[in-house]
């Protein structure tokens, strides 16, 4: 029900026990380790440099993770949707230690997978390289000589390409111009395309240099050299490409053959991560020649367990101190089954700061109701509650935070069911639509309020909930101030505002404007005048007290007047609760749109029913998803902005114990 009290723990133990003690602490997950600065001149205590081993562990763990990724690509794991909720696999201490013995074998798997992956990458890179080579040779495929052919005894041959489309005559003409002394020439065009022409030119050996020169001036380019006839070379490349494809397949298959080692690799990843975490703490310990010191925060209720576990196994000195005011003590919340699920909501705002109460229980009381009002459909609520309940019951190893979230939605589902009953909404107006479309009957669903046809009545309900919510916030503020004996704060920050806002509401209920607008009955005039007096007392009090930290009376009154202006904030806070109406209506109207769409196609026999069911299923799933999201976001907003604005500022630091930080396995205690 509250913020757990913390103890400052100091352990002083023998140096040889340090790893065993740290392993025990890591398994118990009950201590947040703190370290102080020690300067280099300290003659007794020093720190150990463990960065090298820690780095090695981190590297091993990263390699194992990489191997898992490779494995997942080569042999995708068949995972159900549920596996996302399943949580880590529990392992006993004995199994863990037995498996840890085999870590070298497991690391061998990892290295083998990494090596195979490297091969795979190389084979994959080969394919585009070979393909480019084949493409470069294709224009030469009709040539009967290898591309390295340089001529016969008496003749010289030039094989290459011009970067434009040329005919034999063009080439002959240009060559004649560039090398006027040469007259014996044989020009063979192999291929001529739009932007290149590949040719074989032969000449007498004595003219070789002149032709070479002339060709260079014509941007003549030599092809890639190969000693085989182009067709044979292409065939050789194709074989090479086939081999690469085969190698890719076989390497992938070989990687996939490690699929049954997946659990081992997961284990080794976790194993090295745990050791890295342990070494990180080891490096922060203050150690002397024979002893070492661990300091940390422990929730007071875990202290006896720690004392027993440590005291029975090791020779050590253990002390639990009450933390001093100046210490930055971490916060751990503990709540009963009803409130604990919304701890996540409080946590994502901020943990309670120093001296603040844990707001989880009041938040929980309102959260389920506010969420329910916004989703407001019996069937949606039932779907949510049942599915989350089944998940929670079915998956025993679920992580506590996931379990809390799902439990929260389970309870929110109950709130949704209640408000669905209140507004007579079961998949929107599905019962009425089905009764009239398929059975030709009119069905009236009993309901207390019809938000669509009586929006003002619904709005009054929303505002009433809002007023209760806001006053609950003010009361908590009052309670906290009284608990801390800040009586002046209690009166000026809570009581005066309650008087002012409460008085204004009472007074408002006697005016024609308000009662007429909401079609409410006027309350008695005496209550109205009581309200007026309350409001006036509140207003004067706020003007006098709100600037109480200023000594100067003029300044103080000005600040007080400005404080009084905050009453408009209460108006906007209150109006903000109209979102309960808006989101509630959104759910019911969209579901009736889908029901109506379904009923329009339901006329044709058999096919109509099928279409009705299809539209019904898809439409309502969509509506549930979108509106559950809206309800979640806006329930949070009402808590964070309107409710917390009255009493809660947070700023605490979450308790993060020295733990295993594993991803796949969890060691059972």
């Amino acid at each position: 029900m509250s913020v757990l009290p913390m103890k400052h723990m100091i352990i002083c133990a023998k140096r040889q026990d340090r790893k065993a003690i740290l392993e025990l602490l890591q398994r118990l997950e009950a201590v947040e380790i703190i370290s102080h600065d020690i300067d280099d001149t300290d003659e007794v205590f020093s720190r150990m440099d463990v960065s090298q081993s820690a780095q090695l562990f981190v590297k091993n763990a990263a390699q194992a993770d990489k191997a898992l990724e490779i494995l997942a690509a080569a042999a995708p794991e068949k995972g159900s949707v549920l596996s996302a909720f399943a949580g880590r696999t529990p392992v006993t201490q004995e199994t863990y230690e037995a498996k840890a013995q085999k870590r070298d074998v497991m690391m061998k798997y990892v290295n083998e997978i990494l090596r195979l992956d490297k091969e795979l990458t190389e084979a994959k890179a080969d394919i585009p390289r070979i393909t480019t080579q084949i493409e470069a040779l294709t224009p030469w495929s009709s040539l009967d000589y290898p591309l390295s052919f340089a001529g016969t005894k008496k003749t010289a041959a030039f094989i290459g390409t011009f970067p434009e489309k040329l005919s034999e005559a063009d080439i002959a003409e240009t060559l004649a111009a560039n090398a006027p002394d040469v007259d014996a020439l044989d020009i063979n065009i192999i291929t001529a395309e739009d932007n290149f022409t590949s040719v074989l030119i032969s000449c007498l050996k004595s003219d070789k240099n002149a032709i070479d020169d002339a060709l260079r001036r014509m941007n003549f380019q030599r092809p890639p050299v190969s000693d085989l006839v182009p067709v044979a070379q292409i065939e050789a490349y194709e074989k090479e490409r086939e081999a690469a494809v085969k190698r890719i397949d076989s390497t992938t298959a070989e990687i996939a053959s490690y699929a049954d080692k997946r659990d081992d690799i997961r284990f080794i990843s976790d194993y090295f991560n745990m050791r890295a975490a342990k070494y990180d703490v080891l490096g922060r310990l203050e150690q002397s020649k024979r002893v070492f010191v661990v300091e940390g925060y422990v929730p007071a209720e875990y202290a006896p367990v720690l004392e027993r576990e440590l005291g029975s196994k090791f020779e050590l000195a253990l002390e639990f101190l009450d933390p001093e005011d100046s210490e930055d003590v971490p916060v751990l919340l503990k709540n009963n089954g009803f409130a604990a699920p919304v701890e996540g909501v409080v946590e994502s705002y901020s943990m309670p700061g120093k001296g603040e109460l844990d707001p989880t229980t009041p938040v929980a009381c309102f959260y389920y109701i506010l969420f329910g009002m916004m989703l407001s459909d019996f069937a949606y609520g039932a779907l949510m509650s049942i599915s989350t309940f089944v998940l929670i019951k079915k998956l025993k190893n679920m992580e506590p935070s996931m379990r809390k979230t799902l439990t929260m939605f389970c309870y929110c589902g109950i709130g949704t069911m209640l408000s669905g009953l209140l507004f007579g909404s079961y998949f929107g107006d599905a019962p009425t639509v089905i009764a009239s479309t398929f059975f030709g009957r009119t069905l009236e669903i009993p309901k207390l309020i019809d938000p669509l046809n009586e929006p003002m009545k619904m709005l009054v309900l929303c505002f009433a909930i809002g007023i209760i919510h806001l006053f609950a916030g003010l009361f908590i503020n009052l309670f906290t101030a009284l608990k801390d004996r800040r009586y002046v704060d209690a009166i000026s920050d809570s009581v005066l505002w309650m008087l002012l806002v409460g008085g204004l509401i009472l007074f408002g209920l006697t005016t024609d404007m308000v009662t007429g607008m909401f079609s409410l009955n006027k309350i008695s005039a005496t209550a109205g005048s009581v309200g007026k007096v309350m409001a006036i007392i509140g207003a004067i009090g706020i003007i006098l007290m709100d600037g109480r930290e200023s000594k100067n009376w003029f300044k103080r009154t000005l600040k007080g007047l400005y404080g009084l202006y905050n009453v408009t904030g209460y108006l906007s806070d209150l109006l903000s609760y109209s979102r309960l109406l808006a989101l509630g209506l959104a759910t019911s109207v969209i579901s009736s749109v889908f029901n109506q769409m379904g009923s329009m196609v339901a006329g044709t026999p058999v096919v109509g029913v099928i279409f009705f069911i299809l539209i019904f299923l898809v439409g309502h799933m969509l509506n549930l998803a979108i509106n559950a999201l809206g309800a979640y976001v806006h329930a949070n907003r009402l808590q964070y902005v309107e409710f917390f604005g009255k009493f809660y500022s947070g700023g605490g630091r979450k308790f993060t114990p020295f733990a295993s930080n594993t991803k796949y396995i969890k060691i059972k205690n």
């Binding site: 994502s348 109209s578 979102r579 979108i626 976001v633 907003r637």
Partner: protein, 155 residues
């Protein structure tokens, strides 16, 4: 003529609020896709933040639906001889949702984009990041409220 004006009102609520949400969700979606490229585990958070500017479209649909059913166009017994005054009343009643829906969705998407940036750097601050876009939504809700009350007030 009156019925045409009333229909214009209903249609513009769905039209403008829908346009606003489409722009908003699209813009936030680009940022969300960027975040997921860097960190695929943030998908569900990015999705929630992307969907926040989408509600205006739903509110527009809501108003259009209520207006259509009040005019009788949904039940098939529309008052085809509705006078111009009444038609204009429906049109004006739908305007808050139409305009506030359009602008608030676009503005909300800017807050959503910024919040997605926040989650990219500080994934642990998701709870707070959700609130900034939700603040903008308040005004769409107030417009929705006015439109509902106004449509229901027309007899």
């Amino acid at each position: 003529m009156g019925i045409a004006l009333a229909l214009l009102g209903a249609a513009s609520a769905a039209l403008f609020a829908g346009i606003g949400s489409a722009i908003g969700v699209g813009r936030a979606g680009q940022a969300a896709a960027g975040l997921v490229t860097e960190d695929p585990t943030q998908f569900s958070r990015a999705l929630i933040l992307q969907l926040l500017p989408g509600t205006q479209g739903i509110y527009g649909l809501l108003i259009a639906f209520i207006a259509l059913s009040n005019i009788g166009l949904l039940g098939g017994n529309a008052d085809m001889s509705m006078d111009v005054g009444k038609g204009l009343m429906y049109l004006f009643a739908c305007l808050p949702m139409a305009f506030v829906g359009l602008v608030s969705a676009m503005q909300q998407s800017k807050a959503s984009v910024a919040s997605i940036g926040l989650v990219a750097k500080r994934p642990d601050q998701f709870g707070k990041s959700m609130i900034f876009p939700a603040m903008v939504e308040t005004y769409a809700i107030l417009a929705l409220l006015v439109s509902i009350l106004a449509i229901n007030g027309i007899h």
